[in-house]
């Protein structure tokens, strides 16, 4: 079972005791973790908009990206950026493949959300098992050995990779808003998520667009998988926890909206870090799920949501 202690966050939390410094440290750690959750949540909601089911295999795309990077970097020694590109594309194609081979045919049969969820659990198991058979099931660091640059912000510390994560989060947020609201492609995607039947009648090629949604969504998860791998490391089961946090962030933010997922990522990360500070790092996942249950019970539409829960 996986547990990410994001880069020594705990040590920092334990050592500092002055209120302001502590707050700053928690804030910065939250911003870092929020980037991971935010990207996972935004990419998850992108596919969710088109398909309306919880795709549990989405997180596995993070593992696919991370391991493809690992393979290209270690075995073929491609240059760094080429490895990142390879990992992202591999994840995107895997996502597209799951849609074409499994989800699209099921959609045509009118399968319910629960069925698709159970099937996606199967896909998750298959991907995890295949990765473990190829690369072994143990945890492996991705970072190129040697220098890990880090910056000092007041009393807090943030590594170079973590700044990339934060920037990725902001870029993905801006990029998805642009894509969805400023381009023709985005208008089509939104048309599908509002009403697939009508969109199809109007001549929109829904399955093609949903394929693109899957590709982009999985590619973003793959990118996050690589970044997490560089920050800590990769293991075959990493995707599932990335996904659960992404889904939780998406739900508490108000599912099916990009701003909601972005805000949900921050809210989840900040609550988790406060909880971790109070209770200890090992309770992180429990805190996340208790938060989720609280939201589902008392505010099912999420922080920014307006739709049904």
């Amino acid at each position: 079972m996986t547990f990410y202690s994001f880069s020594g966050m705990l040590q920092c939390l334990c050592k500092r005791d002055k209120g302001m410094e502590l707050f700053l440290q928690i804030l910065i750690n939250s911003v870092i973790v929020a980037s991971i959750y935010g990207v996972m949540a935004m990419s998850f909601t992108l596919a969710y908009r088109g398909t309306r089911f919880f795709n549990m295999a989405h997180g596995a795309m993070g593992a696919v990206g991370g391991y493809m990077f690992f393979f290209l970097h270690q075995n073929l020694s491609w240059p760094f950026l080429a490895c990142v590109f390879g990992g992202v594309v591999a994840a995107g194609l895997t996502g597209l493949l799951t849609d074409r081979l499994v989800f699209m045919p099921q959609r045509k049969r009118g399968a319910s959300g629960a069925v698709l969820l159970v099937v996606s659990l199967g896909i998750l198991a298959v991907i995890e098992a295949v990765i473990a058979m190829i690369f072994s099931s143990s945890f492996q660091p991705l970072a190129p050995m040697g220098e890990i640059t880090s910056y000092q912000i007041g009393p807090a510390r943030i590594s170079e990779i973590q700044t990339w994560m934060v920037m990725t989060n902001l870029l993905v947020f801006a990029g998805m808003l642009f894509l969805l609201y400023e381009t023709k492609f985005g208008r089509l995607l939104r048309a599908i998520s509002d009403d697939q039947e009508v969109a199809r009648i109007l001549g929109i090629r829904t399955n093609l667009l949903i394929g693109w949604m899957f590709f982009i969504s999985a590619a973003l998860a793959g990118l996050m998988g690589i970044l997490v791998g560089l920050d800590t490391g990769v293991e075959p089961t990493m995707g599932f926890y990335l996904l659960l946090k992404g889904v939780i962030a998406a739900i508490i933010g108000g599912i099916s909206g990009v701003p909601g997922a972005f805000v949900g990522g921050f809210f989840l990360a900040f609550s988790e870090n406060l909880g971790v500070w109070a209770l200890g790092g090992a309770w992180r996942d429990a805190i996340a799920f208790i938060l989720l249950l609280g939201f589902l019970l008392f505010r099912p539409q999420g922080i920014l949501g307006s739709r049904e829960g």
């Binding site: 079972m1 089911f53 919880f54 499994v102 045919p105 099921q106 399968a111 319910s112 959300g113 629960a114 069925v115 969820l117 159970v118 099937v119 659990l121 199967g122 896909i123 998750l124 198991a125 298959v126 991907i127 995890e128 098992a129 295949v130 473990a132 058979m133 072994s136 099931s137 599932f240 659960l244 889904v247 739900i251 200890g280 090992a282 309770w283 996942d285 429990a286 799920f289 208790i290 989720l292 249950l293 589902l296 019970l297 099912p300 829960g309």
Partner: protein, 288 residues
């Protein structure tokens, strides 16, 4: 021979789990990912009460069932607010929360290390040290659970469950309260899962949290989807196939790590393929 006994014991433990989950998933239409938690609570109840309090095996089974029943009553009440996908996600939350408690409440549960030295059951002064005698006991439990399951689904209570599964409004019109029925079967099913946990703890003579994960829950779901939704014999068949198949692979000379992954690969593929070719499973009567 010893090896075959080992597999048969595992089969009876998973058979209990599959029957238990089928009552909820197949007959009532609720896909629960919380059952790994109930399995875990049962296992830890037996492990801790036997090693720390010194209770006998059968007393700890009752305590475990009681504890799990109470937990299931609370969890089921919360879950009754959700439907379909949200039900599944929320139920997964409880497995993660219980896993976290087992992992972190070190003073009681022993944390990641778990609890060692769980004794084998004692019947009339003799301890069931041999695996063969333990197999006998676990088969008795399997028979009892499967029998109870059969009785439940054939009773008027079981018929009400199926009506609720098909259409809650119709059930209401006929005067059944879906909430009460769903809660009742959830609690019963959780208690059965707890028995499986107790058996596992005493058989392995130790427990650790890594057994009670979402993966394990999905594994049991795969058994039911394979063997048959809403069919008791189907659940047993699914358990037998999914326990037996990967073990057979181990015989053909795969290394252990690969064999474990083969099991995961098998059930993952089965879930995907079955939804296409036979969504109700081999003997099943219902499709999710």
């Amino acid at each position: 021979m010893e090896y075959l006994i080992n597999i048969s014991i595992l089969f009876s433990i998973y058979g209990i789990l599959a029957v238990s989950l089928n009552l909820v998933m197949g007959y009532t239409g609720l896909v629960s990912l919380a059952h790994a938690a109930f399995y875990g609570i049962g296992a830890y109840a037996t492990a801790l009460l036997m090693t720390k309090v010194g209770l006998g095996f059968f007393e700890t089974i009752l305590c475990g069932m009681l504890l799990t029943g109470l937990a299931a009553l609370a969890i089921g009440t919360v879950l009754s607010r959700f439907r379909d996908d949200y039900y599944i996600i929320a139920s997964a939350g409880f497995t993660v929360i219980v896993f976290n408690i087992l992992m972190n409440w070190r003073e009681v549960t022993g944390g990641a290390v778990g609890v060692f030295g769980v004794p084998r059951p004692m019947i009339a002064g003799t301890v069931l040290t041999s695996n063969l005698s333990f197999l006998g006991l676990s088969l008795v439990f399997l028979a009892v659970v499967a029998g109870a399951g059969t009785l439940i689904v054939r009773s008027s209570f079981g018929r009400a469950l199926k009506i609720i599964r098909e259409d809650e409004d119709v059930a209401l019109v006929f005067g059944y309260r879906p909430l009460h029925y769903k809660l009742a079967i959830f609690v019963i099913s959780a208690m059965m899962a707890s028995v499986a946990g107790s058996l596992l703890a005493s058989y392995l003579m130790f427990v650790d949290p890594s057994t009670f994960t979402l993966n394990e829950n999905v594994f049991v779901i795969a058994m039911i989807v394979l063997g048959g939704l809403a069919d008791i014999r189907g659940a047993l068949l699914g358990a037998a196939l999914l326990i037996g198949l990967p073990e057979a692979l181990r015989f053909t000379g795969f290394p252990d790590d690969i064999a474990a992954q083969m099991q995961k690969l098998t059930y993952g593929l089965l879930l995907i393929v079955l939804i296409f070719i036979r969504p109700q499973g081999i003997l099943g009567k219902f499709r999710i």
